[in-house]
Protein backbone atom coordinates (compact mmCIF):
# COMPACT_ATOMS: atom_id res chain seq x y z
CA UNK A 1 0.00 0.00 0.00
CA UNK A 2 1.33 3.40 -0.92
CA UNK A 3 2.74 5.22 2.09
CA UNK A 4 0.52 8.25 1.62
CA UNK A 5 -2.62 6.15 1.52
CA UNK A 6 -1.76 4.10 4.58
CA UNK A 7 -0.93 7.27 6.54
CA UNK A 8 -4.24 8.78 5.51
CA UNK A 9 -6.23 5.69 6.43
CA UNK A 10 -4.50 5.52 9.81
CA UNK A 11 -5.31 9.18 10.43
CA UNK A 12 -9.04 8.82 9.77
CA UNK A 13 -9.50 5.41 11.38
CA UNK A 14 -11.08 6.76 14.57
CA UNK A 15 -13.52 8.80 12.46
CA UNK A 16 -14.53 5.81 10.35
CA UNK A 17 -15.05 3.69 13.46
CA UNK A 18 -17.22 6.43 14.90
CA UNK A 19 -19.02 6.61 11.56
CA UNK A 20 -19.99 2.94 11.87
CA UNK A 21 -21.41 3.62 15.35
CA UNK A 22 -23.41 6.55 13.97
CA UNK A 23 -24.90 4.38 11.20
CA UNK A 24 -25.89 1.80 13.84
CA UNK A 25 -27.37 4.50 16.03
CA UNK A 26 -29.45 5.93 13.17
CA UNK A 27 -30.86 2.48 12.39
CA UNK A 28 -31.50 1.86 16.07
CA UNK A 29 -33.43 5.14 16.34
CA UNK A 30 -35.70 4.44 13.38
CA UNK A 31 -36.35 0.83 14.38
CA UNK A 32 -37.43 2.22 17.76
CA UNK A 33 -39.81 4.54 15.92
CA UNK A 34 -41.31 1.60 14.05
CA UNK A 35 -39.97 2.73 10.64
CA UNK A 36 -39.27 0.26 7.86
CA UNK A 37 -35.76 0.31 6.39
CA UNK A 38 -35.98 0.25 2.59
CA UNK A 39 -33.49 -0.18 -0.24
CA UNK A 40 -34.17 1.60 -3.54
CA UNK A 41 -32.12 1.54 -6.77
CA UNK A 42 -29.05 3.68 -7.27
CA UNK A 43 -29.28 3.19 -11.03
CA UNK A 44 -32.47 4.69 -12.35
CA UNK A 45 -34.06 5.65 -15.70
CA UNK A 46 -35.24 9.08 -14.48
CA UNK A 47 -34.37 11.63 -11.81
CA UNK A 48 -36.28 14.54 -10.35
CA UNK A 49 -35.52 17.51 -12.64
CA UNK A 50 -33.78 20.18 -10.58
CA UNK A 51 -32.06 23.24 -11.99
CA UNK A 52 -28.97 22.98 -9.83
CA UNK A 53 -28.53 19.26 -9.28
CA UNK A 54 -26.67 17.54 -12.11
CA UNK A 55 -26.99 13.76 -12.27
CA UNK A 56 -24.32 11.44 -13.67
CA UNK A 57 -25.63 9.61 -16.70
CA UNK A 58 -24.63 6.03 -17.43
CA UNK A 59 -25.66 4.44 -20.73
CA UNK A 60 -28.86 6.49 -20.83
CA UNK A 61 -29.68 5.82 -17.17
CA UNK A 62 -28.75 7.91 -14.15
CA UNK A 63 -26.97 7.46 -10.87
CA UNK A 64 -29.49 8.42 -8.23
CA UNK A 65 -29.00 12.00 -6.93
CA UNK A 66 -31.61 11.27 -4.22
CA UNK A 67 -33.79 8.27 -3.25
CA UNK A 68 -36.83 10.54 -2.88
CA UNK A 69 -38.91 9.44 -5.85
CA UNK A 70 -38.54 5.71 -5.24
CA UNK A 71 -39.27 6.06 -1.55
CA UNK A 72 -42.42 8.02 -2.33
CA UNK A 73 -43.49 5.30 -4.75
CA UNK A 74 -43.22 2.88 -1.83
CA UNK A 75 -45.23 5.28 0.32
CA UNK A 76 -47.83 5.47 -2.42
CA UNK A 77 -47.87 1.68 -2.34
CA UNK A 78 -48.93 1.77 1.31
CA UNK A 79 -45.61 0.97 3.02
CA UNK A 80 -46.00 3.59 5.77
CA UNK A 81 -43.19 5.44 7.58
CA UNK A 82 -39.77 4.43 6.27
CA UNK A 83 -36.09 5.34 6.21
CA UNK A 84 -33.08 4.61 4.08
CA UNK A 85 -29.34 5.20 4.26
CA UNK A 86 -27.91 5.14 0.75
CA UNK A 87 -25.31 6.65 -1.52
CA UNK A 88 -26.30 9.55 -3.77
CA UNK A 89 -24.45 11.00 -6.73
CA UNK A 90 -24.29 14.62 -7.85
CA UNK A 91 -22.01 15.67 -10.64
CA UNK A 92 -19.55 18.47 -10.05
CA UNK A 93 -20.17 18.78 -6.31
CA UNK A 94 -16.75 18.79 -4.74
CA UNK A 95 -15.45 20.88 -1.87
CA UNK A 96 -14.71 20.64 1.83
CA UNK A 97 -18.41 19.85 2.45
CA UNK A 98 -19.13 18.01 -0.81
CA UNK A 99 -18.16 14.82 -2.58
CA UNK A 100 -19.88 13.77 -5.82
CA UNK A 101 -20.77 10.45 -4.14
CA UNK A 102 -22.05 10.86 -0.62
CA UNK A 103 -24.31 9.22 1.94
CA UNK A 104 -27.88 10.36 2.48
CA UNK A 105 -30.27 9.46 5.23
CA UNK A 106 -33.82 9.97 4.07
CA UNK A 107 -36.97 9.32 6.04
CA UNK A 108 -40.70 9.83 5.62
CA UNK A 109 -43.25 9.91 8.41
CA UNK A 110 -46.79 9.03 7.46
CA UNK A 111 -49.23 11.78 8.46
CA UNK A 112 -46.53 14.27 9.53
CA UNK A 113 -45.74 17.75 8.25
CA UNK A 114 -42.35 19.45 7.97
CA UNK A 115 -42.32 20.62 11.59
CA UNK A 116 -43.03 17.10 12.81
CA UNK A 117 -40.03 15.97 10.75
CA UNK A 118 -37.85 18.66 12.37
CA UNK A 119 -38.88 17.22 15.77
CA UNK A 120 -37.76 13.77 14.52
CA UNK A 121 -34.43 15.34 13.59
CA UNK A 122 -33.97 16.87 17.02
CA UNK A 123 -34.58 13.52 18.68
CA UNK A 124 -32.42 11.62 16.19
CA UNK A 125 -29.40 13.90 16.71
CA UNK A 126 -29.76 13.65 20.49
CA UNK A 127 -30.07 9.86 20.20
CA UNK A 128 -26.86 9.69 18.16
CA UNK A 129 -25.07 11.97 20.65
CA UNK A 130 -26.19 9.74 23.53
CA UNK A 131 -25.12 6.55 21.80
CA UNK A 132 -21.63 8.05 21.34
CA UNK A 133 -21.51 8.73 25.09
CA UNK A 134 -21.90 12.47 24.65
CA UNK A 135 -24.34 14.50 26.73
CA UNK A 136 -26.56 17.10 25.15
CA UNK A 137 -23.67 19.13 23.76
CA UNK A 138 -21.18 18.52 20.99
CA UNK A 139 -17.91 20.36 20.44
CA UNK A 140 -17.42 21.38 16.82
CA UNK A 141 -14.66 23.59 15.42
CA UNK A 142 -13.92 25.12 18.80
CA UNK A 143 -17.56 25.76 19.76
CA UNK A 144 -19.81 23.94 22.20
CA UNK A 145 -23.19 23.40 20.59
CA UNK A 146 -26.18 22.68 22.86
CA UNK A 147 -28.38 20.07 21.17
CA UNK A 148 -31.30 20.24 23.59
CA UNK A 149 -34.62 20.66 21.77
CA UNK A 150 -36.40 22.67 20.69
CA UNK A 151 -33.85 24.12 18.32
CA UNK A 152 -34.42 27.79 17.51
CA UNK A 153 -36.64 28.23 14.46
CA UNK A 154 -36.55 31.29 12.27
CA UNK A 155 -38.42 31.90 9.06
CA UNK A 156 -36.42 32.48 5.89
CA UNK A 157 -38.10 35.89 5.63
CA UNK A 158 -36.99 36.96 9.15
CA UNK A 159 -33.49 35.57 8.70
CA UNK A 160 -32.98 37.42 5.41
CA UNK A 161 -34.52 40.66 6.69
CA UNK A 162 -32.19 40.76 9.70
CA UNK A 163 -28.99 39.42 8.08
CA UNK A 164 -29.28 40.59 4.47
CA UNK A 165 -31.77 43.44 4.71
CA UNK A 166 -34.31 42.23 2.16
CA UNK A 167 -37.39 40.04 2.02
CA UNK A 168 -37.01 37.09 -0.37
CA UNK A 169 -40.69 36.18 0.06
CA UNK A 170 -42.35 39.44 -0.96
CA UNK A 171 -39.53 40.33 -3.39
CA UNK A 172 -38.11 37.06 -4.75
CA UNK A 173 -34.66 37.52 -6.27
CA UNK A 174 -33.16 34.19 -7.20
CA UNK A 175 -29.95 35.82 -8.37
CA UNK A 176 -29.20 37.03 -4.85
CA UNK A 177 -30.81 34.32 -2.76
CA UNK A 178 -28.12 31.64 -2.73
CA UNK A 179 -25.18 34.03 -2.37
CA UNK A 180 -26.83 35.91 0.49
CA UNK A 181 -27.86 32.65 2.14
CA UNK A 182 -24.25 31.51 2.16
CA UNK A 183 -22.51 34.82 2.83
CA UNK A 184 -24.94 36.61 5.14
CA UNK A 185 -27.72 34.44 6.52
CA UNK A 186 -25.80 31.28 7.43
CA UNK A 187 -22.98 33.15 9.24
CA UNK A 188 -25.63 35.01 11.30
CA UNK A 189 -27.26 31.81 12.57
CA UNK A 190 -26.56 31.00 16.25
CA UNK A 191 -23.13 29.35 16.61
CA UNK A 192 -23.86 27.54 19.87
CA UNK A 193 -27.21 26.03 18.85
CA UNK A 194 -28.56 24.12 15.88
CA UNK A 195 -30.86 26.35 13.83
CA UNK A 196 -33.90 25.70 11.70
CA UNK A 197 -34.66 27.93 8.73
CA UNK A 198 -38.31 27.50 7.81
CA UNK A 199 -40.79 28.57 5.16
CA UNK A 200 -38.77 29.00 1.98
CA UNK A 201 -40.03 31.28 -0.80
CA UNK A 202 -42.42 29.42 -3.10
CA UNK A 203 -39.88 29.59 -5.95
CA UNK A 204 -37.63 27.32 -3.87
CA UNK A 205 -40.40 24.93 -2.86
CA UNK A 206 -38.96 21.96 -4.81
CA UNK A 207 -41.26 19.09 -3.77
CA UNK A 208 -42.73 20.77 -0.69
CA UNK A 209 -46.37 21.82 -0.53
CA UNK A 210 -47.17 25.51 -0.26
CA UNK A 211 -48.22 26.73 3.14
CA UNK A 212 -51.94 26.79 3.76
CA UNK A 213 -52.86 30.43 4.34
CA UNK A 214 -49.52 31.77 3.04
CA UNK A 215 -48.95 30.45 -0.48
CA UNK A 216 -45.93 32.73 -0.98
CA UNK A 217 -43.93 30.25 1.09
CA UNK A 218 -43.46 26.50 1.05
CA UNK A 219 -43.56 24.12 4.02
CA UNK A 220 -39.85 23.49 3.73
CA UNK A 221 -37.28 23.72 6.53
CA UNK A 222 -33.54 23.28 6.68
CA UNK A 223 -31.38 22.34 9.66
CA UNK A 224 -28.00 23.99 10.20
CA UNK A 225 -25.53 22.92 12.88
CA UNK A 226 -22.11 24.46 13.36
CA UNK A 227 -22.22 26.09 9.94
CA UNK A 228 -23.11 22.80 8.24
CA UNK A 229 -26.26 22.61 6.15
CA UNK A 230 -27.38 19.27 7.52
CA UNK A 231 -30.90 18.46 6.34
CA UNK A 232 -33.81 19.63 4.21
CA UNK A 233 -37.41 18.79 5.23
CA UNK A 234 -40.75 19.09 3.43
CA UNK A 235 -44.41 18.65 3.98
CA UNK A 236 -44.59 16.53 0.85
CA UNK A 237 -46.55 17.82 -2.12
CA UNK A 238 -49.15 15.22 -3.06
CA UNK A 239 -50.66 17.07 -6.03
CA UNK A 240 -49.35 15.38 -9.21
CA UNK A 241 -50.40 18.17 -11.57
CA UNK A 242 -48.69 20.85 -9.48
CA UNK A 243 -45.58 18.67 -9.22
CA UNK A 244 -45.46 18.17 -12.98
CA UNK A 245 -45.75 21.93 -13.48
CA UNK A 246 -42.80 22.50 -11.14
CA UNK A 247 -40.77 19.82 -12.95
CA UNK A 248 -41.45 21.58 -16.26
CA UNK A 249 -40.29 24.88 -14.78
CA UNK A 250 -37.10 23.24 -13.48
CA UNK A 251 -36.49 21.71 -16.90
CA UNK A 252 -36.80 25.17 -18.45
CA UNK A 253 -34.29 26.56 -15.98
CA UNK A 254 -31.91 23.70 -16.73
CA UNK A 255 -32.21 24.42 -20.43
CA UNK A 256 -31.59 28.13 -19.83
CA UNK A 257 -28.42 27.22 -17.92
CA UNK A 258 -27.27 25.02 -20.78
CA UNK A 259 -27.76 21.75 -18.92
CA UNK A 260 -28.73 18.52 -20.72
CA UNK A 261 -32.43 17.64 -20.97
CA UNK A 262 -33.87 15.11 -18.55
CA UNK A 263 -36.84 12.80 -19.09
CA UNK A 264 -40.07 13.48 -17.18
CA UNK A 265 -40.26 10.95 -14.30
CA UNK A 266 -43.63 9.48 -15.33
CA UNK A 267 -43.83 6.53 -12.94
CA UNK A 268 -43.21 8.83 -10.01
CA UNK A 269 -45.82 11.36 -11.17
CA UNK A 270 -48.34 8.56 -11.66
CA UNK A 271 -47.67 7.29 -8.12
CA UNK A 272 -47.98 10.78 -6.61
CA UNK A 273 -51.77 10.59 -6.95
CA UNK A 274 -51.68 7.87 -4.26
CA UNK A 275 -49.07 9.50 -2.03
CA UNK A 276 -50.49 9.81 1.50
CA UNK A 277 -50.04 12.97 3.57
CA UNK A 278 -46.50 12.73 4.87
CA UNK A 279 -43.42 14.70 5.75
CA UNK A 280 -39.92 13.80 4.64
CA UNK A 281 -36.33 14.86 4.96
CA UNK A 282 -32.91 14.26 3.45
CA UNK A 283 -30.00 14.46 5.87
CA UNK A 284 -26.35 14.42 4.85
CA UNK A 285 -24.86 11.57 6.87
CA UNK A 286 -21.28 12.57 6.07
CA UNK A 287 -21.91 16.00 7.56
CA UNK A 288 -23.54 14.48 10.65
CA UNK A 289 -20.40 12.35 11.04
CA UNK A 290 -18.25 15.47 10.54
CA UNK A 291 -20.13 17.15 13.37
CA UNK A 292 -19.56 14.26 15.76
CA UNK A 293 -15.92 13.80 14.72
CA UNK A 294 -15.13 17.52 14.81
CA UNK A 295 -13.96 17.20 11.20
CA UNK A 296 -13.37 20.31 9.06
CA UNK A 297 -13.54 18.43 5.77
CA UNK A 298 -15.80 15.72 4.41
CA UNK A 299 -12.64 13.88 3.33
CA UNK A 300 -11.89 13.15 6.98
CA UNK A 301 -15.02 11.04 7.39
CA UNK A 302 -14.95 9.15 4.06
CA UNK A 303 -12.73 6.17 3.34
CA UNK A 304 -12.16 7.14 -0.28
CA UNK A 305 -13.33 10.60 -1.33
CA UNK A 306 -13.07 11.48 -5.01
CA UNK A 307 -9.40 12.39 -5.08
CA UNK A 308 -8.48 9.13 -3.32
CA UNK A 309 -10.98 6.81 -5.00
Amino acid sequence: MAEEESARLARIKANLRRRALIHDSIRDFFRGEGFLEVDTPLLTPAVAPEAYIAPFSVNGWYLCPSPEMHMKRLLAGGYGSMFQICHCFRKGERGSLHNPEFTMLEWYRHGANYLGIIEDTERLVLHVAASLGLGTTVGYRGREIALTPPWPRVTVRQAFLSAAGWDPVSHPDEGRFDADLVDRVMPALPADRPAVLADYPAAGAAMARLKAGDPLVAERAEVFIGGLELANAYSELTDAAELEGRFRAEMERRRAEGGPDLPMPRRFLDATASLPVCGGIALGVDRLVMLFCDAASIDEVMAFPRDWA
Partner: protein
Protein backbone atom coordinates in the same frame (compact mmCIF):
# COMPACT_ATOMS: atom_id res chain seq x y z
CA UNK B 1 -13.92 27.72 -23.10
CA UNK B 2 -14.27 25.53 -20.05
CA UNK B 3 -17.06 24.98 -17.53
CA UNK B 4 -16.29 26.53 -14.15
CA UNK B 5 -17.02 23.11 -12.58
CA UNK B 6 -13.98 21.68 -14.39
CA UNK B 7 -11.54 24.20 -12.95
CA UNK B 8 -9.13 22.72 -10.42
CA UNK B 9 -6.02 23.77 -8.55
CA UNK B 10 -3.23 24.63 -11.00
CA UNK B 11 -5.61 25.18 -13.92
CA UNK B 12 -4.34 28.18 -15.91
CA UNK B 13 -6.97 30.73 -16.92
CA UNK B 14 -6.97 33.81 -19.10
CA UNK B 15 -8.85 36.61 -17.34
CA UNK B 16 -9.04 40.21 -18.58
CA UNK B 17 -6.15 39.51 -20.93
CA UNK B 18 -3.79 38.14 -18.29
CA UNK B 19 -2.90 34.54 -17.46
CA UNK B 20 -3.67 33.32 -13.95
CA UNK B 21 -2.94 30.12 -12.13
CA UNK B 22 -5.69 28.77 -9.87
CA UNK B 23 -4.29 28.35 -6.37
CA UNK B 24 -7.49 27.32 -4.63
CA UNK B 25 -11.06 26.48 -5.55
CA UNK B 26 -13.52 26.98 -2.72
CA UNK B 27 -16.81 25.26 -3.63
CA UNK B 28 -19.93 26.30 -1.73
CA UNK B 29 -23.43 25.14 -2.57
CA UNK B 30 -26.72 25.29 -0.75
CA UNK B 31 -28.31 21.85 -1.28
CA UNK B 32 -30.98 23.07 -3.67
CA UNK B 33 -29.16 26.18 -4.78
CA UNK B 34 -26.65 27.38 -7.25
CA UNK B 35 -23.02 26.38 -6.81
CA UNK B 36 -20.62 29.18 -5.94
CA UNK B 37 -16.95 28.84 -6.85
CA UNK B 38 -14.56 31.17 -5.07
CA UNK B 39 -11.24 31.07 -6.88
CA UNK B 40 -7.97 32.23 -5.42
CA UNK B 41 -5.86 33.21 -8.39
CA UNK B 42 -2.35 34.42 -9.01
CA UNK B 43 -1.46 36.57 -11.99
CA UNK B 44 1.40 34.89 -13.83
CA UNK B 45 2.67 38.24 -15.12
CA UNK B 46 2.96 40.24 -11.92
CA UNK B 47 2.40 37.63 -9.20
CA UNK B 48 -0.51 39.56 -7.70
CA UNK B 49 -3.18 37.55 -5.88
CA UNK B 50 -6.82 37.98 -6.80
CA UNK B 51 -10.13 36.38 -5.80
CA UNK B 52 -13.03 35.93 -8.19
CA UNK B 53 -16.41 34.36 -7.49
CA UNK B 54 -18.11 32.32 -10.22
CA UNK B 55 -21.46 30.52 -10.33
CA UNK B 56 -22.54 27.20 -11.80
CA UNK B 57 -22.89 27.49 -15.55
CA UNK B 58 -20.20 30.19 -15.89
CA UNK B 59 -17.53 29.53 -18.48
CA UNK B 60 -13.89 30.52 -18.31
CA UNK B 61 -11.04 30.55 -20.79
CA UNK B 62 -8.35 27.98 -20.17
CA UNK B 63 -4.90 28.86 -21.38
CA UNK B 64 -2.01 26.56 -22.13
CA UNK B 65 0.99 27.44 -20.04
CA UNK B 66 3.88 25.00 -20.13
CA UNK B 67 6.95 24.76 -17.96
CA UNK B 68 10.42 24.17 -19.43
CA UNK B 69 13.85 23.65 -17.91
CA UNK B 70 16.23 26.16 -19.47
CA UNK B 71 19.79 27.27 -18.98
CA UNK B 72 20.56 30.96 -18.61
CA UNK B 73 23.14 31.77 -21.31
CA UNK B 74 23.87 35.50 -21.22
CA UNK B 75 22.52 39.02 -21.14
CA UNK B 76 22.50 41.06 -24.31
CA UNK B 77 21.05 44.47 -25.06
CA UNK B 78 18.62 44.53 -22.16
CA UNK B 79 17.47 40.97 -22.82
CA UNK B 80 18.23 37.66 -21.17
CA UNK B 81 18.85 34.68 -23.38
CA UNK B 82 17.89 31.16 -22.27
CA UNK B 83 18.33 27.77 -23.93
CA UNK B 84 15.78 24.98 -23.61
CA UNK B 85 17.60 21.95 -22.14
CA UNK B 86 15.55 19.55 -24.26
CA UNK B 87 15.12 21.25 -27.63
CA UNK B 88 18.19 23.58 -27.45
CA UNK B 89 15.93 26.33 -28.75
CA UNK B 90 16.83 29.80 -27.56
CA UNK B 91 14.31 32.16 -25.96
CA UNK B 92 14.77 35.76 -24.93
CA UNK B 93 12.98 37.91 -22.41
CA UNK B 94 13.15 41.62 -21.67
CA UNK B 95 15.26 42.20 -18.56
CA UNK B 96 12.57 44.41 -17.03
CA UNK B 97 10.03 41.58 -17.17
CA UNK B 98 12.04 39.37 -14.83
CA UNK B 99 12.12 41.92 -12.02
CA UNK B 100 14.35 41.73 -8.95
CA UNK B 101 14.88 37.98 -9.36
CA UNK B 102 17.36 38.85 -12.14
CA UNK B 103 19.82 39.86 -9.43
CA UNK B 104 20.40 36.20 -8.65
CA UNK B 105 20.57 34.94 -12.22
CA UNK B 106 24.03 33.51 -12.83
CA UNK B 107 25.22 32.39 -16.23
CA UNK B 108 24.92 28.64 -16.64
CA UNK B 109 22.23 27.98 -14.01
CA UNK B 110 19.12 26.02 -14.90
CA UNK B 111 15.80 27.71 -14.27
CA UNK B 112 12.19 26.73 -14.84
CA UNK B 113 10.45 28.89 -17.42
CA UNK B 114 6.74 29.28 -18.13
CA UNK B 115 5.80 29.64 -21.77
CA UNK B 116 2.44 30.80 -23.08
CA UNK B 117 1.79 31.03 -26.82
CA UNK B 118 5.52 30.69 -27.46
CA UNK B 119 6.38 33.59 -25.15
CA UNK B 120 8.21 33.50 -21.83
CA UNK B 121 5.86 34.75 -19.13
CA UNK B 122 7.77 33.77 -16.02
CA UNK B 123 11.20 32.68 -14.88
CA UNK B 124 11.38 30.60 -11.72
CA UNK B 125 14.78 30.45 -10.10
CA UNK B 126 15.86 27.53 -7.94
CA UNK B 127 14.99 28.26 -4.30
CA UNK B 128 18.67 28.53 -3.47
CA UNK B 129 21.62 29.67 -5.55
CA UNK B 130 25.31 29.74 -4.68
CA UNK B 131 27.14 32.90 -5.63
CA UNK B 132 30.61 34.33 -5.08
CA UNK B 133 31.15 37.45 -2.98
CA UNK B 134 32.92 40.07 -5.10
CA UNK B 135 32.99 43.03 -2.73
CA UNK B 136 32.81 43.04 1.05
CA UNK B 137 33.11 45.37 4.07
CA UNK B 138 30.57 47.64 2.49
CA UNK B 139 29.46 49.66 5.51
CA UNK B 140 26.11 51.30 5.86
CA UNK B 141 24.15 53.01 8.57
CA UNK B 142 20.72 51.68 7.63
CA UNK B 143 18.59 50.08 10.33
CA UNK B 144 18.52 46.70 8.60
CA UNK B 145 22.20 46.17 9.20
CA UNK B 146 22.90 45.10 12.78
CA UNK B 147 26.24 45.09 14.53
CA UNK B 148 26.73 41.47 13.48
CA UNK B 149 25.79 42.10 9.86
CA UNK B 150 27.35 43.82 6.88
CA UNK B 151 26.40 44.24 3.25
CA UNK B 152 28.31 42.47 0.49
CA UNK B 153 28.01 42.44 -3.29
CA UNK B 154 27.68 39.20 -5.23
CA UNK B 155 29.03 38.29 -8.67
CA UNK B 156 25.62 38.96 -10.21
CA UNK B 157 25.51 42.46 -8.74
CA UNK B 158 23.04 41.71 -5.95
CA UNK B 159 23.74 43.10 -2.48
CA UNK B 160 22.96 40.91 0.53
CA UNK B 161 23.27 41.29 4.30
CA UNK B 162 25.66 38.66 5.70
CA UNK B 163 27.36 37.84 9.02
CA UNK B 164 30.64 39.65 9.66
CA UNK B 165 32.81 36.57 8.97
CA UNK B 166 31.87 36.37 5.28
CA UNK B 167 34.62 37.82 3.11
CA UNK B 168 35.43 38.56 -0.50
CA UNK B 169 35.93 35.36 -2.49
CA UNK B 170 33.58 33.28 -0.32
CA UNK B 171 30.74 31.35 -1.90
CA UNK B 172 27.43 31.85 -0.13
CA UNK B 173 24.01 30.26 -0.48
CA UNK B 174 21.16 32.76 -1.00
CA UNK B 175 17.42 32.20 -0.76
CA UNK B 176 16.11 33.63 -4.06
CA UNK B 177 12.55 34.04 -2.78
CA UNK B 178 13.56 36.41 0.02
CA UNK B 179 16.94 37.57 -1.26
CA UNK B 180 18.55 36.66 2.05
CA UNK B 181 21.77 34.95 3.10
CA UNK B 182 21.46 31.29 4.15
CA UNK B 183 25.02 30.03 4.76
CA UNK B 184 28.62 30.12 3.61
CA UNK B 185 29.34 27.05 1.50
CA UNK B 186 32.95 27.58 0.45
CA UNK B 187 35.66 29.82 -0.79
CA UNK B 188 36.52 30.56 -4.37
CA UNK B 189 39.86 29.05 -5.35
Amino acid sequence: MMEISEVARNTKLMIDGAPYTVEEVNFVKPGKGRAIYRLKLRNLFDGMAREITYHSGDRVEEVSVTSHEMQFLYEEGGHYVFMDNETFEQHTIDKKRIGPKALFLKEGITVSILIMHGRIIDVNLPKFVELAVTASAFTTKTDTVTAQQKMITLETGATVGVPAFVKEGDIIKVDTRTGTYVERTGTKK
